[in-house]
């Protein structure tokens, strides 16, 4: 879907006013994204573009979009590879006994 983010004026339902407690991983995602911006590794504009390009934009939550976009930009810029992220995630998962 082209421009899944360009939502202004689309029909939509009531605004859900419930608020969730920010999770640690969301705080971390926010911090890493901004820290990379501050250091000049990427720009806010690249971050937005990466979010807008996500094929599952409409299915992901706000911070899932941030995390996915940050990952994609780091891979795009050759700073990390998908394989090493996968491998580290698997290691952490084993170490913490998560799924």
């Amino acid at each position: 879907m082209e421009r899944p983010h360009d939502l202004g004026g689309e029909p939509a339902g009531p605004v859900d006013r419930r608020e969730h407690e920010v999770e640690d991983w969301e705080r971390l995602t926010d911090a890493i994204t901004i820290a990379l911006d501050r250091k000049g590794v990427k720009t806010t504009d690249e971050h937005r573009r990466a979010i807008e390009s996500l094929p599952d934009y409409r299915e992901l939550s706000y911070y899932e979009r941030w995390a996915a976009a940050t990952e994609n930009l780091l891979v795009e810029k050759g700073l990390l590879s998908r394989e090493e992220i996968d491998a580290r995630a698997a290691e952490l998962s084993r170490a913490w006994g998560e799924r």
């Binding site: 991983w25 911090a31 706000y62």
Partner: protein
Amino acid sequence: MSGHDHPHEGPGRTASPYALRIRAIESLLVEKGVLTEAEIQDQIEYMYSRSPANGARLVARAWVDPEFRRRLLADTKAAALELGIDASGPVEFVVVENTPEVHNLIVCTLCSCYPRAILGRPPDWYKSFEYRSRAVREPRAVMREFGHEPPEGVRVAVHDSTADVRYMVLPMRPEGTEGMSEEELAALVTRDSLIGVSVPRPPARAR
């Protein structure tokens, strides 16, 4: 429609797969020297220190001091700094004032831009597809959902933050607040009134 924006329907909900991935990314970035743990922690601290209370203080000061109000509207970053609020950075801030003629509402339809450097993180609903879609097209219906109906004759002005300017509303001072201290006034200024979906709380006791 809002996907996983509100996944917290009860115990035993599954964690996002991105929770694990961002920790893997953190670990790799630090290992490779792209970022340090201190730099990451600095950003976490930065966001902790930003909250709607900052906006409330700016509004309360503007209510009691007409010269500060003028400065807040003319150069928001500089005025914020007077109160010890550091909103420095490449983004510009503009405060739009509510008057007896105009009520302002802020949205970012394209992504959820928000004056984070002053107010901290936006509420979940501000980032929702429903708010982003409808705030521009039916602002009065959205405000009604938040319990606010502008009085007869008041025009509604919506601001879509599409570029590098972030907007905050300067609400009108509620009736019956004469003689209240700045601190008491700040306590009336809600986050939602700074976005424009509603107005500040009325004073606790009729005067």
